[in-house]
């Protein structure tokens, strides 16, 4: 089985879907000739032609707006936004049309659009290249929000997103693009949207995370183990719709929940998860659920980046606090 980075796995997912379905188009800024600034679409134009994989004008609202017209005529657009902070000019199209078309037309016109972009910090980038705004997208009715944390999941989720008949925001953790390698099967396979995964079982507490922060949590496991903290680690993989069952049954088992989130703390996905366990399994909780998050600040520029993002040491610190909580 081939060994791939996440960039290669995503490239492979797009490649196999372009080959599999002539209604799939890939486009965005620098997506064609250059293959994307992170090379996620490298060689795809050469292989599938300029009509299938192409560069667009530098205008995000029209990139997403054009997806509406294309979808009405039965195409499956996969649109790249070059960076997380460059989606904002397209927000009007996402909120007022992409997410609403099925409802507005009483189910007659769906938007099988995949909006993919690199997200999050940790790569020493410029301002507006480190945003982690999944909570904002998850708050928009009509969208699905997907974030992989491994090359294998990235490919399977990307294929599922392209095949999904609803619009999917597909956030790619840019700091994991080349961080790890993994065996990734050739050909088509899907990871179902809406299914989380318990990656490691444990009995003291549940740690839930997603995307780039999964890697931070994984890195914390060794020191947590040395500290005799036996963690159950879950990867959301899909932000909306949330996999209630997996989350709730894990917390029912461990009685403790720590959520690790890169984005700003207030009104985030972590808050939603904590509300969920309070609603669904309050009587199982042995300590107030905790969240380790980014601050309610703008992600700092590279020199101060590490003071914003959760780190493995901070995961350990919070896990210790959660376990030491005494009623």
């Amino acid at each position: 089985m081939p060994i791939m980075t996440m960039v290669q796995a995503l490239n492979n997912a797009l490649d196999v879907k372009l080959a599999d379905d002539p209604s799939v188009l890939c486009f965005g800024e620098d997506v064609g000739v250059e293959g994307g600034v992170f090379r996620v679409t490298e060689h795809l134009q050469r292989k599938h032609g300029v009509k299938r994989v192409f560069d667009t004008p530098l205008a995000e609202s029209s990139i997403i707006g054009a997806c509406v017209g294309m979808s009405v005529l039965g195409l499956r657009p996969v649109a790249e936004m070059q960076f997380d902070g460059f989606v904002y000019p397209a927000m009007n199209q996402i909120i007022t049309h992409i997410s609403r078309y099925r409802y507005r037309t009483r189910g007659q016109r769906n938007m099988p659009v995949t909006i993919r972009f690199p997200y999050g910090g940790g790569v020493k980038a410029l301002e507006l290249h480190s945003e982690s705004m999944e909570a904002m997208y998850a708050h928009i009715p009509g969208l699905k929000v997907v974030i992989p944390s491994t090359p294998y999941d990235a490919k399977g989720l990307m294929i599922a997103a392209i095949e999904d008949n609803d619009p999917v925001i597909f956030q790619e953790p840019k700091r994991l693009y080349r961080a790890t390698k993994q065996e990734v099967p050739d050909g088509l396979y899907r990871i179902p949207i809406g299914k989380a995964k318990v990656e490691k079982e444990g009995k003291h507490m549940t740690i839930i995370s997603w995307g780039a922060m999964m890697h931070v949590c994984r890195k914390a496991l060794a020191s947590l183990d040395q500290d005799n903290i036996d963690v159950e680690l879950g990867d959301l993989r899909t932000i909306y719709p949330l996999d209630w069952e997996t989350i709730v049954s894990s917390v029912q088992k461990t009685g403790r929940l720590l959520v690790v989130q890169e984005g700003p703390k207030s009104f985030g996905v972590a808050a939603e998860l904590i509300a969920l366990v309070n609603e669904k399994c309050f009587e199982y909780l042995e300590a107030p659920p905790m969240r380790l998050c980014g601050n309610d600040t703008i992600p700092p520029l590279p020199r101060s980046e590490d003071l914003y993002c959760p780190t493995p040491e901070r995961v350990h610190f919070y896990a210790r606090k959660l376990l030491d909580y005494a009623t």
Partner: protein, 384 residues
């Protein structure tokens, strides 16, 4: 405030030279020419630009304008009685909507903004569906079977990138179709005007962009939207032909749109049309135009009413009569009454409909919220 419509360079009409020169050359946006075929008295002023339009089709166009007028008046009336919600008023802009829609085929795509009742109806939308929307029902967004149209687009100009995407898909799939997309004068200031037109031009999409320049974006006059002398001139920056027409002249609107549609269909890329018209009513039923325009100005435009002008021309051509007019008004009124009766009693949506069209299948959270609402309603029902 302007109490009269001043003559500007853009107001000079059709002095182009048809001998060999194409319409787009003769009415180049920098020429200062505006296409007019009929004067406000219905006299043919520029026979060289008369469209190739059969008497039958011409009469059909006039009938549709009248139908749109009566349907619009009825809707405003019902709104005033508290039976419909806020709705846009169309009166005065019927030649723009009908003249342009007449130039496309059933297989072409209509991308409305929201003030094109004549275009919706011409292209096949049932009046009752439009009324459902005014009635505050999602069913008003249900696209009629076999009608190639997008639904009404509320966010100003956001529909133009959709038109570009439709054009893109038409080209990609090798379909024989053109996209007819509408926007207002105020809408030309939006970023999506630029992004939509630019995309269509870069990819040579078969799109016709039609600006209803009715002089006001709610209250803000056209002069406050842009320093450009005409809106048609904006075409030049995108590398596409542009043309300004008298939007109250059915023949001029049809002539320009037909040329633009043919041009786009032949694979030449998009065209921009600016139709200069006037909204005789308010922006919507919630608006009070006396705050921003004078009755003198309104009076100036009343004799330029596109229905009067077309009717005079039909009389001149001896294809119309007072009897036919009376018959038409009766017919349209009956149709409008029927559409009203069909929808006016409709209540709120059944609960499943509120939740079920958000996604292909209900998500866990929607399922729970639907259950919660039903549980509450049962509880409320029991309490009486």
């Amino acid at each position: 405030m302007a109490t009269e419509v001043k003559a500007k360079k853009g107001d000079r009409v059709s002095n182009g030279k048809p001998n060999g020169a194409s319409l787009f050359e003769s009415f180049h946006p920098l020429s200062g020419n505006k296409l007019e075929v009929l004067d406000p008295n219905g006299k043919v002023t520029h026979p060289e630009w008369l469209p190739d339009l059969s008497d039958d089709l011409l009469v059909e166009g006039y009938k549709m304008m009248r139908f749109a007028r009566i349907a619009d008046l009825k809707a405003v009336n019902l709104q005033r009685q508290g039976k419909l919600y806020t709705l846009p008023v169309n009166r005065g802009q019927e030649a723009c909507a009908v003249g342009s829609a007449m130039a496309i085929r059933k297989s072409d795509w209509l991308v409305p903004a929201f003030r094109e009742i004549g275009a919706y109806l011409w292209h096949g939308w049932p009046l009752s569906t439009l009324y459902k929307w005014y009635l505050g029902l999602e069913a008003g967004g249900v696209l009629p079977e076999g009608v190639n149209s997008l639904p009404t687009s509320v966010p100003i100009t956001s529909q133009l990138p959709h038109a570009a995407g439709l054009g893109h898909a038409i080209k990609y799939k090798g379909l024989d179709a053109v996209v007819m997309a509408y926007v207002g004068d105020g809408g030309t200031s939006e970023g999506d005007f630029s992004e939509g037109l630019n995309w269509a031009a870069v990819f040579a999409c078969p799109c016709v962009f039609f600006i209803n320049n009715n002089h006001y974006a709610i209250s803000v006059p056209r002069e406050s939207q842009t320093r450009a002398e005409t809106l048609a001139q904006k075409a030049l920056g995108f590398g596409m032909p542009g043309i300004q027409v008298d939007g109250n002249d059915l023949l001029a609107v049809y002539r320009a749109t037909k040329e633009a549609v043919d041009y786009a269909r032949a694979g030449n890329g998009p065209v921009l049309i600016e139709a200069v018209t006037y909204r005789l009513g308010a922006h919507t039923t919630s608006d009070d135009p006396t705050k921003y325009r004078t009755t003198d100005e309104e009076k100036l435009w009343e004799p330029r009413d596109p229905l009067l002008r077309t009717k005079k021309y039909l009389f001149e051509k001896q294809v119309w009569s007072d009897e036919k007019e009376e018959e038409l008004v009766q017919y349209c009124t009956a149709q409008v009454v029927r559409a009203t009766e069909e929808v006016i009693h409709l209540g709120s949506n059944p609960i499943p409909e509120l939740f079920e069209n958000m996604y292909e299948s209900l998500t866990n959270s929607l399922e729970e919220q639907k259950r919660d609402l039903e549980e509450f309603l049962r509880w409320q029902g029991k309490r009486g």
